[in-house]
Amino acid sequence: MRLKIRHATRYQFAEPVIYGLQQLRKTPKTGHQQEVISWSTHVEGGQKEVTFEDNHHNVVELISIDRDATQVTVISEGEVEIEGSSGIVGRHPGPSPLWLYERDTPLTKFGPGCRALAREADGGTDLEKLHALSEVIRDAVKYEVGASHPDWTAEEAVAEGVGVCQDHSHIFLACARHLGYPARYVSGYLMMNDRVDQDATHAWAEAHVDGLGWVGFDISNGYSPDERYVRVATGLDYTEAAPVIGTRFGGAHEALDVQIQVAQQ
């Protein structure tokens, strides 16, 4: 399936920016079942400084915000060709060693809440167990847009019983790592069948299973990611795969406007 994607982010500042940087992870990955046909990033109110690949093979772009800018717009767009694979992404080529994905992070710290969920995840094979885990999480933590805070930890989301895809993925990572599976966060795009305009980027998780390699789990939707899923960035948790991380001086009171369109060609 060929998807055409346009992702526009606009920050508006009540006061001019003195100096600011944004680290972008918005370029879809090439590899496995996915091929980037064309991709471009366009910046207004700032400029591209450097581009590199990080230790998760993410394409990272660093942009600086122009001095005295009151708004900065980043438009990333292009086309991606995807083959369906029923969730199996495949073998781990590095560069980071697999054991790195066994590490927990502050956001995916395993605690009593996750422990209770992990205990319920029953299954004969690795895959069955992980699918069961995904279901347990979706049942225990209700998907509700706007219900959670972006800096919630996995434990906090379990305790609140509500969350979004980010929270679901963090809980899954905490539990899967506890069960002995290397696991990682994936941020990307999902083409919803009924619309072109999307509310936000999507997030899901991947666990590494011996013999199969990386396998994807969209906990929030209860799917195995297929050809409607575009993998953009991976990491140990949200902070390593976030579309934008920024720092700035001046430019108080930001307002954010995001427009995402995903359409089949």
């Binding site: 680290q23 400084e49 690949e53 230790n55 660093l62 600086s64 560069p95 060693p97 790195l100 720092t247």
Partner: protein, 474 residues
């Protein structure tokens, strides 16, 4: 390991004057002790005026202190130095190869020569460095290898400093002071010079400039600022190298490079000799609360726009648990037997070792795996029963945090006191520069001396002093 009497580098084990000190001894006999006492005071005054001070952590200018300087040099023969420098070079080569491997394919782990936990549980391991190829393949541009001596032919490596070894300014100023005070002594003895260090450092750093460099490389020294304990050294080295001394807020990312704010606008830096710890280096990529670093410098680094010396993440090689594997590391990467010996080390993470250590606490030195500066350690033979009991609890609750070593009988070198010469324990930190052009070791290094009789703690933060270190010409 020698037992029993302590080896004195001037008088040996049996009060027979050793060769390297013969000329010095002749000179010393000719001196009027009163004049030497005046000279000792002059030296202190010289250091005070020059401002060669270190700041005590967490305090301000009122707490600038001098590191006591002793006028009796520590003397090493050319032959002794040859062996030491070969061993140091081998070790530094291995450390650099180890870092390249750890942040690359991790062959040494795959080969089963060191356990994966050594890296996976190592706080200094920086995943962001995985796959990064530093310019010239150099990770540790500047290394300090801490050595101790226990007998005529016994040297041990006590510690590798692969992050930001300090003290080189004392090595240089100590020599400068001795030259000013006792020129006649240098006229009768041939001592290998150390004064090339700043220009060697400049050249060595320049040789590691990234491809983005346009023209002669611009080098700068990054300091945490004037309240840092080693600020004097940062200013001193920048001055001697003819490099700018910058702080984080002088720098920002401009046109894909890290640039410094000058009176004429921003100017790119090619090589940054940073004296700021990894965690504080880049608030965008590491500790977001850091005021000392440069947001985005890691991005520019990973894109090949700047050389950071030493590379981020080199601390993974100077952890005390990794230290215990250095003989394996040296063999794995050089294919040779290690020339310099390691101090036998018990890793308390291993149950058998822990049991042994707990049974023998009174005879051992126990150190924190990530500790430095002589803090957080137990010196069994001089500790009270209460200290040992308290330490036992700490050790039992977090064994993986500790290693233990036998108490070495460190060599002594005389210091000059009101009552004449008196032996005190010393160690030695030679300074090593690494570049694609080769490995350069300044003859000698910094000798630290415990000023209290019988004390084994040489750290300046705990009352240690320094000496000029001579390597004689052949």
């Amino acid at each position: 390991m020698s037992e029993g009497s302590i080896f004195d580098e001037m008088w040996g084990q049996d009060q027979a004057l050793r060769d390297p000190y013969s000329e010095f001894q002749t000179w010393f006999e000719e001196q009027d002790p009163k004049r030497l006492r005046v000279k000792q005071r002059e030296a202190d005054e010289l250091f005070r005026l020059t401002g060669i001070t270190f700041n005590v952590y967490g305090r301000q200018e009122a707490e600038e202190r001098l590191i006591p300087f002793d006028i009796v040099p520590r003397i090493i023969s050319a032959r002794e130095w040859l062996k030491l420098s070969k061993g140091i070079e081998q070790r530094v080569r291995a450390i650099n190869a180890f870092l390249g491997d750890i942040y690359g394919r991790q062959e040494i782990i795959k080969a089963g020569r060191i356990p994966v936990e050594m890296i996976a549980r190592n706080e200094a391991f920086l995943p962001q460095m995985i796959g990064v190829k530093p310019a010239g393949g150099v990770y540790t541009h500047i290394v300090g290898i801490d050595l101790v001596r226990t007998a005529d032919n016994e040297f041990y490596v006590l510690e590798d400093n692969a992050r930001t070894p300090s003290g080189v300014s004392y090595m240089l100023e100590n020599r400068e002071t001795m030259l000013q005070m006792f020129p006649e002594l240098f006229a009768r003895t041939s001592v290998q010079p150390v004064s090339n260090y700043p220009s060697d450092l400049r050249r060595s750093l320049g040789a590691c400039a990234p491809d983005a460099t346009d023209g002669p490389p611009t080098v700068a020294v990054l300091t945490p600022g004037i309240y840092n304990s080693a600020y004097f050294e940062h200013a001193f080295l920048a001055d001697q190298m003819g490099a700018e001394l910058v702080e984080g807020h002088d720098l920002r990312v401009v046109d894909g490079r890290v640039a410094m704010r000058t009176t004429r606008g921003f100017q790119p830096i090619d090589v940054l000799y940073r004296r700021v710890d990894d965690d504080f280096l880049d608030p965008l990529n590491f500790n977001p609360d850091s005021q000392l670093g440069v947001p985005g410098i890691m991005d520019v680094y990973r894109a090949g726009g700047i050389t950071i010396a030493n590379a981020p993440g080199t601390g993974v090689a100077d952890d005390k648990a990794v230290y215990s594997y250095m003989p394996e590391i040296v063999e794995f990467y050089t294919g040779e037997r290690p020339i310099l010996e390691n101090v036998p080390t018990w890793r308390c993470s291993e149950p058998e070792s822990l049991a042994y250590v707990l049974d023998n606490l009174a005879d051992l030195v126990v150190k924190e795996v990530h500790g430095s500066g002589g803090y957080g350690m137990l010196i069994g033979p001089t500790a009270t029963k209460k200290d040992i009991a308290e330490f036992r609890k700490k050790l039992q609750s977090r064994p993986g945090n500790y290693i233990a070593q036998p108490t070495l009988s460190l060599s002594t070198v005389p210091i000059f006191t009101n009552k004449g010469l008196a032996p005190r324990h010393v160690d030695l930190r030679p300074f090593v520069l690494v570049s694609p052009e080769g490995i350069n070791i300044t003859p000698g290094g910094l000798t630290r001396v415990a000023l209290q009789k019988g004390s084994l703690v040489v750290n300046s933060s705990q009352g240690g002093g320094t000496k000029d270190t001579w390597v004689l010409e052949d």
